[in-house]
Symmetry: C2
């Protein structure tokens, strides 16, 4: 590894470049051709890096797919806006932006199929999904503390109610969600958990 660094020049920027190139290649292959196209050979060729450079960072194909998915659908951060409904809208709009990127449905379907193929990544997958829903749990808890979310709301169930409809519209109904749908969801979910009618 030290040898590779010397050979390739200053380490850090080059490493970050490799990571970005590899994860972009994975997303492109999944979007264009589906999960079966994601082989270490194809990723190395597309990214212009060696297979050992990939294996140094990710132990296998399924870890790579998980890391690539997280660059597309990652962790959100919503500041305290003083109002649950406004923060809910920020979460839904941020997800909407990502789900509207062409190919995101294929990336998500490929991710689910990858977890099914390889039970060894299930734990890492579950932690990833939990991370992606973390900010929603946080705005619900902030709302409970503030008083604009009912104190008896089950935060985990409510976080699923927030996350699910946009994904279902995209993956099950196979239609790209639009801003009107996100606004309807914000309205309905604010009523579902809000302490004010």
């Amino acid at each position: 590894m030290a040898g590779a660094r010397v050979e390739r020049g200053p380490g850090r920027p080059r490493h970050e470049h490799v990571t970005g190139a590899v994860l972009s290649a994975v997303l492109e292959l999944m979007t264009e051709q589906g999960l079966s196209a994601v082989t270490m050979d194809a990723v190395a060729a597309r990214a212009g890096v060696s297979k050992p450079a990939i294996y140094r960072r990710w132990p296998g194909k399924h870890d790579l797919i998980l890391a690539a998915a997280e660059t597309r659908i990652g962790v959100l951060s919503v500041p305290d806006l003083g109002d649950f409904r406004a923060e809910l809208r920020a979460v839904l709009d941020a997800r909407l932006d990502v789900y509207r990127i062409p190919g995101t449905a294929r990336v998500m379907a490929g991710l689910i199929a990858a977890v099914e193929e390889d039970g060894a990544v299930r734990g890492a997958y579950e932690r990833y999904v939990s991370r992606t829903m973390g900010e929603t749990r946080k705005i619900l808890e902030r709302g409970i503390a503030r008083g604009d979310v009912r104190a008896d709301v089950d935060v985990r169930a409510a976080a699923t109610l927030v996350a699910a409809p946009l994904v279902y519209r995209l993956m099950i109904e196979q239609q790209v969600p639009d801003a009107r749908f996100a606004a309807d969801l914000a309205d309905m979910i604010a009523r579902a958990v809000g302490s004010r009618a």
Copy 2:
């Protein structure tokens, strides 16, 4: 076809038996081994029928997968119970029963992958999904007419809000939904669309 009927004895029951055996074989193969295991040869062998007998009913593998999925997750029928919340609970409980059958997540993931593989079944798939959500649209419309659902609710958006969380918990969070979660959902969704606080 007439010849086959004579050969196999009285037509109708035998035909229904073939249909049932074939669709069960498809569900078993998807549950045990995933989508890639569903080949016409494997289905014929598992069901104990000839490949022509399958092709007479379904033009291809992907039509077969769609038909099999519909025997698992089909159209619901909820009588008028005089109360939207009770009807909503009936819908959620009926779906919960099905999602708790081992293998249903794999059947759904296989179905989505099948539609991705073969764009020709997309129209049939979209009509199927719309049918499965039809009863929820109906109880929402009945609630609007009755007055216990707000008149300004977007019925299609609300139907997605009802359908999505159980599917997301099963397929994305990869956990089997339980009765407590279904009860929490009924409570939250009734607040989301109900005309009474």
